[in-house]
Symmetry: C2
Subunit: 202 residues, 2 copies
Amino acid sequence: MSIITVSREFGSGGREVGKRLADILGYSYYDREIVSEIAKKTKLDENYVAHSLEKGNLGHLPINFGRTFSYPSVIMTDAVNLFSEQHKIIKELAQKGNCVIVGRAADVILKNYNPIKLFVYADKKSKLARCRERGASNENISDKALEKEIKKIDEQRAKYHELFSDIDWGKKEGYHLCVNTTDRDIKELAISLAEYVKFLMK
Amino acid sequence: MSIITVSREFGSGGREVGKRLADILGYSYYDREIVSEIAKKTKLDENYVAHSLEKGNLGHLPINFGRTFSYPSVIMTDAVNLFSEQHKIIKELAQKGNCVIVGRAADVILKNYNPIKLFVYADKKSKLARCRERGASNENISDKALEKEIKKIDEQRAKYHELFSDIDWGKKEGYHLCVNTTDRDIKELAISLAEYVKFLMK
């Protein structure tokens, strides 16, 4: 059984890389299913779960456990439940067979499966352009403000990852391959990348 | 014309990656030729040049220009000449056509050619094993001492690189692809990697 985890900077196209890799390899791709499953199990609103976890953007959820008592206990309970359910569901999905999972610290959660760990990144300009292209953010936002938003999301991803691992998010040492998507067409990139990933899975 | 630069941690197998990529792609591979050429032009002993530059190990050459005056002027002159010749020769070779150049800050020196920039790395254990395998060092050296030697060489490489560039050596942002060779057979790896490199050169 082979598992591929794709960690990525916001706006780098890592999600598309993961989806396309899964398609080329005939692997399952888990994304929104994870959110739906968590919502079902925790009886929390799916949008709330998505907002809190999908993009690694934990928003107001308490990351700093030293400040726990300043948060209402319901949010604290939500956070623990969300983390716990996400871990459980990712492990359940991994057991079903070959798959690609993007983000969600899956590289750490599934470490016993020895996943192939990819990291996808790009330069600032390229990430800004990709964010605008897919309309992920307000059209009226300035480049500077969007850049700040991207940085904040990545910082949250790093923080989330580091809750469960000693290995820093985004440091090349933690991955089998780090892929720079700057100025690249993801569709074409994925085709060539799949060849290298096949080698890594041998 | 396509140029591929391979930066690498000592013991990661990056040199072999570069050589094999060149063979697969039918590209020139420049390595010892650069040293011979520098020796010829500077009238310095080839082994002295090799020792000083080949592995990015500048030995006693003055890196810290703030301390220039504490070095004998002949060494200072050698250093400047070596650096200068190396830059010139790398640029001359690049003009000859498709090639792979390993190390020597070629990624920075040839930046106007928009080279494909790879970085090859591996974990400590793997680098130690590779160093022992190829007998690059004293057999009686302890793991700890060898590890220290590897670290020192990489630090010199980083320092050399940073003389000419604002981009930190080994930071993934400076490369198109970062390849972890831990527990991989370089021969097989190069075959799959060549596919991705072809994509990058499109």
